[in-house]
């Protein structure tokens, strides 16, 4: 029993220590230097990831570039370099998008940098308005020349009227531009951005407005000499005069002219000098056009209607901005992240709005823009590598009267697919099982070929009938009398100790004597690994039967199948030893 005590204690301690150390395996403190991120007043650079990030060197030049972009665009508008305008505007949009992403990814969305971003977005919108309006104004100039050549005073009057609406619109855009540029310069100053270029763009814009005013004044002067008998009148009323996203504003009016009004006379509604929609008058000349406030920037818009060459007065519409609410949900399927959510304002779904999703991992940054559907919902799915990701969705589009908003950040962990582990486990299990099966099969084959059987037989006959005996060596020696005396000592020991030992232990003494006798008889060494039956196989037919009887009894004693007093075993031993001694 004592011999098992030490291994048992070792095993017990091993298990105990393993259990004690288990909680530390995830963060082993023995190698703590890489796990302690902070201690006292210092942070541990060994535990932190080295990124050598110098983003100021990226952001500040980009901000400078954005500020500088306005000047060249306005200048090209003045010079009417259409191709350059489009190229500059496209580049400005690209740089703005890059800047927006940078601000979000660097989590600077509550800083002065974000103020700059918002002002820049506003500035981009103003420039797009300017480019669009300038193109329309240029078109009007060409039309006026054409109508003057055609000597068509009514058309010239229409051009002058539309030009006046456009001038008001441009003046408003200029006012917005001045404000935005000042704010842009101010927010840029904190990071040492030079604002001279933005001031230059305002100056250029101002000069352009002067040119527009001058052209328009001259145009009005030219039509002042034209005496047209206006027999038509087109009225316009807007009710309510403004609203928020999702509101519907009704525009109504009456087109009156001498004579009958043809049913279905088309009425075109213009907002900010752009065709909004076309409706028609009824036979009494009344028309009604609803305006849904959706993709209309917050601020004042100018609306008028037109029937043929007849214009209504220009009426302002006030669109008020409201706060947006953006939600974000996510689900994970394998390595696919599915992000969804809804954009609302004042509990109204915002449809067709761009929502940008930012998926930021340890070393990767991914973003994509999707539009909301009619229910204000968006969905984006993407494949990612295993790791931890922060997901954020952002809405920012000044074209909508909904203020910028962002969802709360969600952290999602994508784990390595367990498939490989399962495959490895399966391979190991299958290999192990295959090995065991093959081993068993080989053993069975060996057993079929081998006379040796380790199973226990109840009788000698059973044993003899089940095993073919091997050939015995011809060169065997008889046991000498002296050797017989030596072997008989086992008998003496057995008799003297059988009362104090257990039957099995006592039987071992006779078994040792039996082995010694076989070695002498067969002149073959008996290996300790050989069973008693294997040793018996070394005997020839003469003593085999007696030996088998002894072995059968021996096994019943040793393996405790049948507890006897030992006399029968001793008798069998005597017979087989005598047999070997006679020979």
């Amino acid at each position: 029993m004592k011999r098992y005590a030490a291994p048992a204690i070792f095993i017990g301690l091993t298990i105990l220590f393993a259990v004690l150390l288990m909680p530390y395996t995830a963060e082993p403190e023995i190698y703590a230097i890489g796990n302690v991120e902070e201690a006292g007043i210092f942070k541990n650079p060994i535990a932190l990831k080295q990124i050598s990030q110098e983003k100021t060197a990226d952001i500040v030049p980009l901000m400078q570039e954005l500020i500088g972009s306005s000047g060249s665009i306005v200048l090209n508008v003045r010079l009417n370099n259409v191709e350059d305008i489009e190229a500059d505007l496209a580049e400005y949009r690209r740089a703005s998008k890059q800047f927006d992403n940078m601000v979000i990814n660097l989590d600077m969305s509550e800083s002065e940098i974000d103020d700059f971003r918002k002002n820049n977005t506003e500035n981009l919108k103003n420039l797009e308005e300017l480019v669009s309006d300038s193109a329309t104004f240029e078109e009007l100039n060409n039309l006026e020349i054409q109508y003057r050549d055609e000597n068509n005073p009514e058309k010239m009057y229409s051009v002058a009227y539309e030009g006046e609406a456009l001038r008001k619109k441009l003046e408003q855009t200029f006012a917005d531009c001045q404000n935005t540029t000042a704010a842009l310069a101010k927010s840029g100053e904190v990071v040492d951005i030079k604002s001279e270029q933005s001031e230059y763009s305002v100056d250029a814009f101002s000069e352009y407005i002067d040119e527009v005013n001058q052209i328009q004044e001259e145009r009005l002067l030219r039509i002042s000499d034209i005496n047209i008998e206006f027999q038509e009148e087109l009225s316009l009323e807007i009710e309510p005069p403004g609203g928020i996203y999702g509101d519907t504003i009704n525009t109504t009016g009456i087109y009156s002219q001498t004579g009958d009004i043809p049913a279905g006379e088309p009425v075109t509604l213009y907002i900010d000098s752009r065709k909004y929609t076309v409706s028609s008058c009824n036979i009494t000349g009344e028309y009604s056009i609803p305006i849904a406030i959706e993709k209309m920037y917050a601020g004042t818009h100018l609306a008028y209607t037109r029937v043929g060459d007849v214009f209504s007065p220009v009426i302002p519409i006030s669109v008020i901005g409201t706060a947006g609410v953006l939600t974000l949900n996510y689900s994970v399927s394998g390595t696919t992240i599915s992000s969804s959510g809804k954009l609302t304002t004042e509990a109204r779904a915002v449809s067709g709005a761009p929502v940008t999703l930012y998926i930021k991992g340890q070393d990767t940054e991914k973003n994509a823009t999707v539009d909301t559907d009619n229910a204000g919902e968006y969905l984006y799915e993407t494949e990612v590598e295993p790791g931890e990701y922060t997901i954020l969705s952002v809405f920012s589009d000044p074209e909508f009267p909904v203020s910028d908003c962002r969802s709360s950040e969600s952290v999602v962990s994508i784990t390595q697919s367990n498939l490989y582990i399962y495959i490895i486990l399966f391979v190991i299990t299958a290999t192990g099982a295959g090995y065991l099966i093959l081993r068993r099969r080989n053993r069975a084959e060996k057993t079929e070929q081998s006379p040796i059987e380790t199973s226990i037989f109840d009788t000698a006959e059973e044993f003899l009938s089940s095993e073919p005996l091997p050939e015995i060596s011809d060169t065997k020696n008889e046991i000498t009398p002296a050797e017989i005396v030596a072997i008989q000592e086992y008998r003496s020991r057995y008799i003297s100790q059988r009362t104090v030992l257990s039957p099995a232990e006592a039987a071992h003494i006779l078994g040792e004597g039996f082995t010694a006798a076989i070695q002498k008889y067969s002149s073959q060494e008996c290996s300790p690994s050989e069973t008693m039956r294997e040793q018996t196989a070394k005997l020839d037919d003469t003593c085999m039967k007696k030996a088998v009887v002894f072995v059968t009894l021996y096994e019943t004693m040793v393996y405790g199948i049948d507890q006897q007093d030992g006399d029968e075993l001793l008798s069998a031993w005597d017979k087989v030893i005598t047999c070997m001694g006679d020979k």
Binding site: L13, T56, E110
Partner: protein, 292 residues
């Protein structure tokens, strides 16, 4: 034979345990300590200083008799008495260069005594330009030439404080801020702008240089910051100005009683592991000697 082997094992286990325990107790894990070989100690910097032949200043009056060119103080932590203060001031006014490397405001008393107007402000300085994935591991840039900053363009800092007054030598980038709410991002009333982390001031014939980050001297900031010029700055500190180093009031030379070290050791996992090893050793020995 087995008994002899068991005895050898017992002795070996005890010797190893003893060496480990002694070695543990003879060092310290106190941050900035000159005797701390760990990541937050300054053993490597002071070894470098000693190898270069720098001398240790153990009392300030010696500055009057044989004053060095430069004296380096790291996180000075107590008020100097009148004579000590006078010695230090005299050292500076007579042409010495005092380099104070500290991020705690307690060092301001030394600066005041030495006649400097530069002040340390113990703030949470953060920047978008960071050497490690933490906004407080700020990268700062040279903004004015100085012999101490030869071949030093940028350095990585470890939670630096900020400085006011004096002439700026090293500043952060413009997208840096005082992280008042300590959330790692700029928000609320936090403003962006360059912050000075190293400044100097001429006091009569002498000069006072202040670096608001003692973290650049810790061992782990020596070998891990490969992208910056931290190593060059250390070399310049050690070689270019023939410095002596203060051991009187500088925090790296603060030693505490062994009792405190033992108390601290008891709370560490290393000791727990040693105890486990010791128990295992004893059991091995018992097994070898057939006690079990």
């Amino acid at each position: 034979m087995r008994q002899t082997t068991g005895n050898i094992l017992v002795v070996a286990a005890l010797v190893i345990a003893g060496i480990v325990i002694l070695s543990y107790l003879s060092s310290t894990d106190a941050e900035l300590s000159r005797y701390n070989n760990g990541w937050n100690g300054t053993s490597s910097f002071y070894d470098q200083l000693e190898r270069s032949g720098s001398t240790a200043i153990t009392s300030y009056p010696v500055l009057r008799s044989a004053y060095p060119d430069t004296l380096i103080m790291v996180e000075p932590h107590y008020m100097l008495n009148g004579e000590e203060g006078e010695s230090l001031r005299e050292f500076v006014t007579n042409g010495g260069t005092l380099i104070v490397i500290a991020q705690r405001e307690s060092a301001n008393t030394i600066l005041e005594v030495a006649g400097s107007t530069v002040r340390i402000h113990d703030t949470k300085l953060a920047s978008i330009d960071m050497e490690y994935n933490d906004p407080e591991m700020v990268i700062a840039y040279q903004v004015q030439e100085h012999s101490l900053l030869e071949d030093v363009e940028s350095i990585a800092l470890n939670q630096p404080s900020t400085l006011t007054s004096g002439e700026a030598l090293i500043q952060t980038s413009s997208i840096s801020w005082i992280d008042a709410n300590n959330n790692g991002k700029v928000d609320g009333i936090e403003k962006l702008g360059k912050e000075t982390v190293m400044a100097h001031e001429i006091i009569e014939q002498g000069e006072i240089i202040v670096l608001a980050d003692s973290g650049i001297l810790i061992n782990s900031m020596d070998f891990t910051v490969s992208e910056r010029d931290n190593a060059q700055l250390r070399t310049n500190l050690v070689t270019s100005l023939k410095p002596s180093y203060d051991t009187v009031t500088s925090q790296p030379f603060v030693t505490e009683g062994i009792l405190q070290a033992v108390t601290g050791a008891k709370s560490t996992t290393v000791i727990k592991i040693l105890a486990i090893l010791l128990i295992t050793g004893i059991i091995c020995a018992a097994y070898a000697r057939k006690i079990l």
